[in-house]
């Protein structure tokens, strides 16, 4: 057992876990943050994507110990109170989900994509960049629309800040 200390959605936490614990297990089983999903458990599907120090990583492919000292943001940490994050709002408005299982990972990856590409996003780029996130319902069309829509909204909200 080891104590892992990290910041999750702005709150400092210290959790005693077995050394073999994955980051996603720490989030879901120890902190009850079940918005982060486990889909394939083989690093392919991206349902488990969270941000570690601002970068979108697959939390099923990291030991909790590797995240010691890190700043983690999950899907539960991106809305401001009742106001959805622009990416969440765009997924809702564009019908970017059906069953919703992949959606938390999609949204966390998509925010990272917008941060990295800023205003230079086009459909081809979004499709390439989302290759680490698998959706079995939508055919991706509305997900891509949502990400492009959110990229515009995030640019506007950043400019306003």
């Amino acid at each position: 057992m080891s104590t892992v200390k990290l910041t999750v959605n702005g709150k400092a936490v210290a959790v005693d876990v077995e050394d073999r614990t994955l980051l996603v297990q720490l989030l879901r089983d120890h902190l009850n943050l079940t918005g982060t999903h486990v889909g394939c458990d083989t690093s392919q599907c991206g349902a488990c994507v969270v941000h570690m120090d601002g970068k979108a990583v697959k939390s099923c492919t990291m030991l909790a110990g590797q995240a010691d000292g890190a700043n983690i943001t999950t899907i539960e940490g991106i809305a401001k109170g009742d106001e959805l994050h622009p990416m969440q709002a765009a997924f809702r408005d564009n019908h970017g989900l059906q069953c919703g299982y992949c959606t938390p990972g999609m949204i966390m990856s998509a925010i990272d994509i917008v941060h990295r590409h800023g205003g230079q996003l086009d459909e081809t780029t979004v499709r390439q960049e989302l290759e680490g996130n698998i959706c079995r319902c939508t055919g991706y069309h509305n997900i891509v629309k949502a990400v492009l829509d959110a990229a515009g909204r995030m640019k506007v909200s950043q400019a306003a800040e």
């Binding site: 994955l22 030991l63 960049e129």
Partner: protein, 266 residues
Amino acid sequence: MYQTTYHRASSVDEAVSLFAKGTESKFLAGGQTLLPVMKQRLASPSDVIDLGKIKELQGVELSGDVLTIKAGTTYFDIMQNADVKKAIPAIAHLTSVLGDPAVRYRGTIGGSIANNDPAADYPAALLALGATVKTNKRSIAAEDFFQGLFTTALEDGEIITAVSFPVPEKAGYEKMRHPASRFALTGVFVAKTKSGEVRVAATGASQSGVMRVPAIEAALKANWSPSAIDSVTISASNLLADIHGTAEYRANLVKVMAQRAVAAAG
């Protein structure tokens, strides 16, 4: 995953001494292969020594005609690096088509070559460019480093610290990506060194792991152009065959990917 004991090393020396204390230790770099393998219970190290926070294993240096990438540098940092893009843009390109964005934030060049997956991308770059693998004990030429499927010259407890690439006159890499795993169904790295030598390496093709392709090297030496490879025949014997492609298909891919890589290199 079976039980294991996790250690975080803050220096190469500390990592070596932690490794020696375990009964069956493994070094953990980015973990993008080791952790999935441990989850499948195909590996069950007693101790995992995390190299991820060792500062001396991070960074890229360009000094004259040698580009040195330290072993713990992530794929993301390699593909973004200005010196990599300037000196050997083919390495930046190779890295940008490796894995997916989340994997590229975590995976490292040292981890990739230590694992030596027969379909990994970096081994082709090291072999074609005539790179040198630096460890905490010695320097190893790429030719001697890669020794077949998942096998390298590394000894127990030896840590890769950096890879040094001679800057070539031109180089290119193209691969047929497996659509799910993004590994190379077959990938070919072509390079023309500053002394005029032509070196070509293929990954994902041979049953013995990454390999040089002498027939294509000879054709390109005579005429550096995609059409020079038209008349080359690649034998399918000893090539990989699985549900994704026959040995004959891969033999043809070696040719086609080499042609595309030459076109990309210019």
